[in-house]
């Protein structure tokens, strides 16, 4: 076979040799296409698998860990929670609206494929500097796309993050997370149950969308490529997805389906191969039966990434009933093949076998690499000069930095109250929804601190997990499990590979300590353009619960006159990376001091105090302290024209980062009880001030509340327009 053709399919010549040797014959072009899709980084995790295997993926509440469409955890009674995060980075850079919209569509299908009804979405989105027209275009397109898709289907968007940094100028990140509710005895898996079961095609017709999208997602971009790659972005149809979701959920609750797979990246190829592999069976599919939107070759049908399609296995006797239900929802339905006992993947077209491969060579023999990696050099300690910076400057630096401003402009474009079960909307430390018809709530948060991880991938990752953990704790949500989205540059660079390996190691350490196993995830590599790599951005999505919705905390100030306390330990100013960067003390990544070692036991101890005090109803409101320190946390807590009056030894303390940091608001009458509780637990606290009406006062200096609030709430829109 032609070498160029092999390379164009993203396979190395060595990889091809392995296949050739196993089969001992030449491959058809369709078969080459299959390997191109299945041996791609996106599908087989060939670079990360060795390290991902080390992550904790199981504990007493895990029903399904990684390996299915989504992870599922046990929420007592018959309630299960399915969730996953997935990236759509490259497609969203090429065509932000459709790229992000189909990202949401894909992750929702992952959830309802498990038999779960999606109940919430979150989005972690990162862009380059807003000063460029390109970033404005990307931001508008991505937010519009996410909103369009999620709003139309009617799944509330309850949170996420939106950050801006020059490292993402040519590689924006779009990671979409979805959470679903499933009855534990009605979970569906991709494994087919019986030989002879019918393989059926459900959903939109197949078109040319995204042919080679899965291999595209792992390409290193070069800037000129953009226009050339445009046609391969998929176009989403949220209306179709809504019908598909209702149709599939009805089929599943009627017990008419044996197993189901989403035709996502690498389309029918990936879904049918997965089915065969999971069930240790074979599949035989007639491509002539696939509903088409336009004439397509067998090769194109195999690799099409048209959206809103599912592959399911049903018992022959249910064929008629399935058709009837799908007709009601106006969804295309076709029997296209059956489950065989051959352990081979066979595709026919025009009465000819165009693909006939053993499942083993496609899945089990997929390459796995142990790539070389470097451990970052030890950093020298440095004392920075803070003498020139005044309190006014520090406040101003935050209020002119998009990353600190209120992001309602983004969230207001999302429907966050549809389904009527939303308890905390975006913009709070975690989003919270109720499990319909119960008193149980689910909280979720997404986080990443790329700067920390760039400085020290292992410790930085611990901080990232801890931040997600704190986000949930602040709302009195008990953290339960994690989904991760590992966004990195090219692993062929041993420095980048080092970031990947060490951050996975950090994730492991923190996940074990917090007893929050990783139940699902996604890896997105090669996020670099013209040799410029992104900062390591392994995003964490953490999910937790509280069995009683009346016990959860708000992050917003409750009452004038209440006291403000600080828990946790401040990172000293020389060791607060975001302080140094955002207060413009240094921008040089080589100058930063190494991170202080994060004491995870201390994190747990303080977290338990917050949970206990919340259960005692002593906490009126609580917010975690992260980037921007106490000041930023307090700004986020403003509500109904309430502000704060605080006193601290040194104003710069208000801007430093924290480990186990929380701001808590308590009533004066509870002060004794709270402080003696904390003392008994050995948890230090700092009483810094109180909630006041329409004011911001720091060390007796009064600031114009409405001026600051106006900037905080409204300047985001001004800056990005």
């Amino acid at each position: 076979m032609n070498e160029d053709l092999i390379l164009q399919h993203g396979l190395t010549l060595d990889e091809f040799k392995v296949i050739r040797k196993y089969l001992n014959r030449d491959l058809s072009i369709e078969e080459l296409g299959i390997f191109s899709a299945m041996w791609n980084e996106h599908c087989c995790y060939k670079t990360s698998k060795k390290w991902l295997k080390k992550l904790p993926t199981d504990n007493e509440i895990v029903i399904q860990g990684p390996g299915e469409n989504a992870g599922v955890i046990d929420l007592q009674d018959n309630d299960g929670i399915a969730f996953k995060i997935e990236s759509h980075n490259h497609p969203s850079y090429i065509e932000p609206f459709n790229g992000s919209a189909t990202g949401v569509g894909g992750i929702l299908r992952d959830i309802f494929t498990m038999g779960a009804r999606p109940i919430a979405t979150l989005d972690s989105i990162r862009f380059g500097l807003i000063e460029t027209e390109k970033t404005k275009y990307l931001l508008n397109g991505v937010v519009n796309g996410i909103g369009h898709y999620g709003n139309c289907i009617g799944i509330p968007n309850i949170g996420g993050e939106c950050e801006f940094e020059s490292t993402y100028d040519f590689n924006n990140l779009v990671n979409a997370m979805a959470v679903g509710h499933v009855q534990k005895d009605k979970i569906f898996y991709s494994k087919p149950k019986s030989i002879g079961g019918l393989i059926v095609y459900i959903g939109s017709k197949t078109g040319k969308d995204g042919i080679h999208g899965a291999s595209m997602a792992s390409d290193v971009f070069s800037e000129e490529d953009e226009d050339e790659k445009r046609p391969s972005v998929q176009v989403g149809d949220p209306f179709m997805e809504k019908l598909l979701m209702e149709g599939c959920l009805e089929l599943m609750s009627s017990g008419l389906i044996e197993s189901m797979q989403d035709m996502g990246a690498a389309g029918i190829t990936s879904s049918s191969v997965e089915m065969a592999s999971k069930g240790n069976v074979g599949v035989c599919i007639n491509l002539d039966k696939v509903p088409l939107r336009q004439p397509l070759s067998a090769y194109e049908i195999l690799l099409s990434e048209s959206q809103e399609r599912m592959l399911a296995v049903i018992d022959k006797k249910n064929n008629h009933k399935v058709r009837e239900i799908l007709q009601k929802w106006q969804i295309d339905y076709e029997v296209i093949g059956e489950i065989t006992d051959t352990k081979r993947v066979v595709f026919e077209s025009n009465n000819k076998k165009v693909v006939d491969l053993p499942v083993e060579i496609i899945v089990d023999d997929a390459p796995e690499y142990d790539r070389e990696f470097y451990i970052p050099r030890k950093r020298k300690n440095k004392d920075f000069d803070f003498s020139k910076i005044k309190l006014e400057d520090m406040i101003n630096n935050l209020l002119t930095n998009l990353n600190y401003l209120d992001k309602s402009w983004v969230f207001d474009q999302y429907d966050s109250t549809v389904m009527g079960d939303t308890i905390r909307e975006p913009g709070q430390s975690s989003g919270i929804v109720k499990i319909h018809g119960t008193q149980k709530v689910i909280g979720a948060s997404t986080d990443c601190n790329p700067l920390y991880i760039r400085i020290n991938p292992y410790e930085g990752m611990k901080y990232t997990v801890a931040e997600s953990y704190r986000n949930l704790i602040a709302c009195n949500i008990n953290p339960l499990a994690i989904t991760n989205n590992l966004n990195f540059a090219s692993p062929l660079d041993p420095n980048i590979m080092g970031e990947l390996v060490l951050s996975i190691h950090g994730l492991k350490t923190a996940a074990i300590k917090f007893n929050t196993p990783i139940v699902s995830g996604n890896v997105s590599l090669y996020n670099q353009t013209n040799e410029i790599p992104i900062k390591p951005t392994p995003v964490i999505g953490m999910v937790g619960s509280n069995m009683d919705l009346n016990k959860i905390n708000t992050n917003k100030f409750c009452e004038i006159g209440n006291k403000i306390l600080i828990l946790g330990k401040q990172l000293t100013k020389n060791f607060s990376p975001y302080l140094l960067q955002d207060q413009k003390i240094t921008f040089n990544i080589c100058e930063f001091n190494d991170l202080e070692v994060l004491d995870l036991d201390f994190e747990k101890k303080i977290a338990n105090c917050v949970l206990e005090l919340s259960d005692l109803k002593c906490i009126m409101s609580c917010n975690d302290i992260s980037r921007g320190g106490i000041f930023s946390a307090l700004l986020k807590m403003q509500y109904k024209d309430m502000g704060f009056k605080v006193k601290v030894p040194d104003p710069i303390d208000l801007f430093c980062e924290y480990s186990a940091g929380y701001v808590i608001e308590i009533r004066s009458k509870d002060f004794e009880e709270v402080t003696s509780f904390l003392t008994k637990k050995g948890a230090e606290y700092l009483e810094i001030g109180e909630v006041i009406k329409e004011g911001i006062e720091i060390n007796s200096k009064k600031f114009d509340y409405f001026d600051i609030m106006n900037k905080y709430r409204n300047d985001f829109e001004k800056i990005i327009s």
Binding site: G147, G154, F239, Q413, Y414, D415, G420, D641, M709
Partner: protein
């Protein structure tokens, strides 16, 4: 006598379940869910056309739904002097059917708006009896096309006939808008001339339960039942 009601589901409706819960919890009476292809409607006191993106909002919001089979029965129900409430997409459908005046076009800022809004009642009718004059209600909106438009003549008719039920207003605290989507005269909801049909953009069914941010949405059902 117990209060009977029904919610119509169109393909793409996504607030039908919310509306069913709203009615179940607040009316305590019989509640039906009716698929859009049905050709008969049980005799009920109130029908809700729920929010969502019926038929994907393709062509125009509400256009295709206004041609569904069930619509014939809906019009009969309205002509029978029974209550009909269109929320969000339901409001759009009512204007497309022609049961309500005017049309809903894209929000002034061309962006989807998903947030809390504040409304107060303008003219009294059976849907807002329990609401005090000048009482400010906090109710979420979630729409792309909620910008109410009609020509001057129609607007004068709406005023003269006291058909304007709700208008947007500022909230109690700073940083709230007078007219969030650019509607003519900040109109948030109107009735027909007989005042048994109400269309409104805000979602009362998302503001009634104890755990919701506001319970002001209860007042509409309470008004109808009282």
């Amino acid at each position: 006598m117990s209060f009977k009601s029904a919610v119509i589901t169109f393909p793409g409706s996504n607030c039908d379940r919310d509306a069913l819960c709203y009615l179940n919890d607040l009316t305590k009476g019989e509640v039906h869910n009716i698929w859009h292809e049905e050709t008969s409607l049980p005799k009920v006191d109130l029908v809700i056309l729920p929010g969502g993106f019926s038929f994907g909002d393709y062509l125009r919001s509400g256009a295709m739904a206004s041609k569904s089979k069930i619509i014939h029965e809906i019009v009969k129900h309205a002509n029978d002097n029974r209550y009909l409430l269109g929320i969000c997409n339901g409001f759009q459908i009512l204007t497309e059917i022609g049961l309500l005046e005017g049309a809903l076009i894209r929000n002034k800022k061309l962006k989807f708006l998903g947030k809390n809004c504040f409304i107060k009642k303008k003219f009294k009718n059976n849907f807002n009896l329990s609401i005090k004059d000048n009482q400010i209600l906090q109710i979420p909106v979630a729409h792309n096309e909620g910008n109410f438009y009609c020509d001057t003549e129609t607007l004068n008719l709406l005023k003269n006939n006291e058909q304007i039920a709700f208008e947007y207003c500022k909230g109690e605290f700073s940083n709230t808008e007078e007219n969030i989507n650019g509607s003519i005269e900040a109109i948030a909801g109107i009735t027909n001339k007989k005042k048994n049909v109400l269309g409104m953009m805000p979602h009362p069914e998302r503001a009634y339960s104890d755990f919701h941010q506001s319970q002001d949405g209860r007042l509409i059902i309470e008004s109808l039942i009282s």
